[in-house]
Amino acid sequence: MPGITDEELMMRFQTGDVCAYELLCERYRTPVFGFIYRMLGNDRGPAEDLLQDIFAKIAGAAQFYEPRAKFSTWLFTIVRNHCRNYLKSRMFLQGKVTVPMDGGEGTGDEQVQPRQVAGPTDTLREVENRETGAILESAIGRLPDMYREVFVLRAVQGMSHEDTAKVLGLNSATVRTHYHRARQLLREDVGGILGDGDLAGGRGN
């Protein structure tokens, strides 16, 4: 069913077509897992549990989906809220409940991804891209949650500005500010390896 929209699939599922929902899971499991994984500081186990919980819960509550809402935005809103609740509960368990998540400095246990070893058929560019990717991935993991979620949705997932604002329940200006702040922090952290960071022309006003 490649030509069928997400919204149509969800409506089919509402009338009992489980295959339609399986296809939606297939379409979205990678981007959703990517978001959860990064929001949880690259913590695979809890991210996999959360992924299963979310898709199972959405299946159980599918009758509440309203087709006028864009499915991807609806889905990521739920995913994001689950991540927030998980992070809050983890902070509680770690005795950090007095630190508001929105102003937090990351989850505190971000893991640096191991760098992959180059294979014999890799071109130099592929190796460089992978190394840059590993460095960038761990820098994203060091971003405070409020900036990381915007960066992952906008830059990594390629979500539009408007959809990101809807998913995060933020106004347009705040999304812009958070995304800009995320880029500033990444520039301070890993700007050197990405190049074109030449500020010789001045500091701006």
Partner: protein
């Protein structure tokens, strides 16, 4: 007059062609005059390209299988909801959807009574305790924030700490 920071906030949408014509022209005019913002534009382009190239973390096959199994047979995953007015410790763990080890640190905090050597909890009291926790922590429902979904009354009777 806009500061460079205000222009820089707009650079991703400028690159995506998502700005209105007037706003895009305003950014383009500023870029023509500001070398620092032109350099920033290059950085945004490189950073975005590198971010889009990041490999998505792979979901392991076992997880996909379990996930699809739960979707196909949700009944197997449903938890007990038919709790009576009094719970023992095991009931409480199930009621709160926690395992015993995780529940243990909270036991001293949850009002209880002892009868015949058994530690018991009134469900109503536990619900009040949960409500107090919810209020003090300001937790939100997973479906808030524009998800436009209602949780049926019956789903609430499970009384879990972390709702949908």
């Amino acid at each position: 007059m806009k500061t460079c920071d205000k222009y820089r906030e707009l650079l991703p949408e400028f690159l995506e062609g998502a700005l209105e014509t007037d706003a895009a022209a305003d950014v383009a005019t500023h870029l023509a005059d500001c070398a620092a913002c032109r350099a920033e534009l290059g950085f945004v382009r490189n950073l975005t390209a590198a971010a889009r190239r990041l490999s998505p973390p792979k979901v392991s096959d076992g997880v996909v299988l379990r996930m699809m199994e739960r979707v196909r047979h949700p009944s197997g995953q449903q938890r007990r909801t038919d709790f009576g007015p009094v719970l023992d410790v095991n009931d409480l763990a199930e009621y709160l959807r926690m395992d015993m080890a995780a529940l243990e640190p909270y036991l001293a905090d949850i009002p209880c009574f002892e009868l015949g050597g058994k530690l018991l909890f009134r469900r109503q009291t536990v619900e009040a305790w949960v409500q107090q926790k919810e209020q003090s922590l300001g937790f939100s429902s997973g479906f808030e924030g524009g998800a436009r979904i209602a949780v049926p009354e019956s789903a609430e009777t499970g009384g879990s700490l972390w709702t949908l």
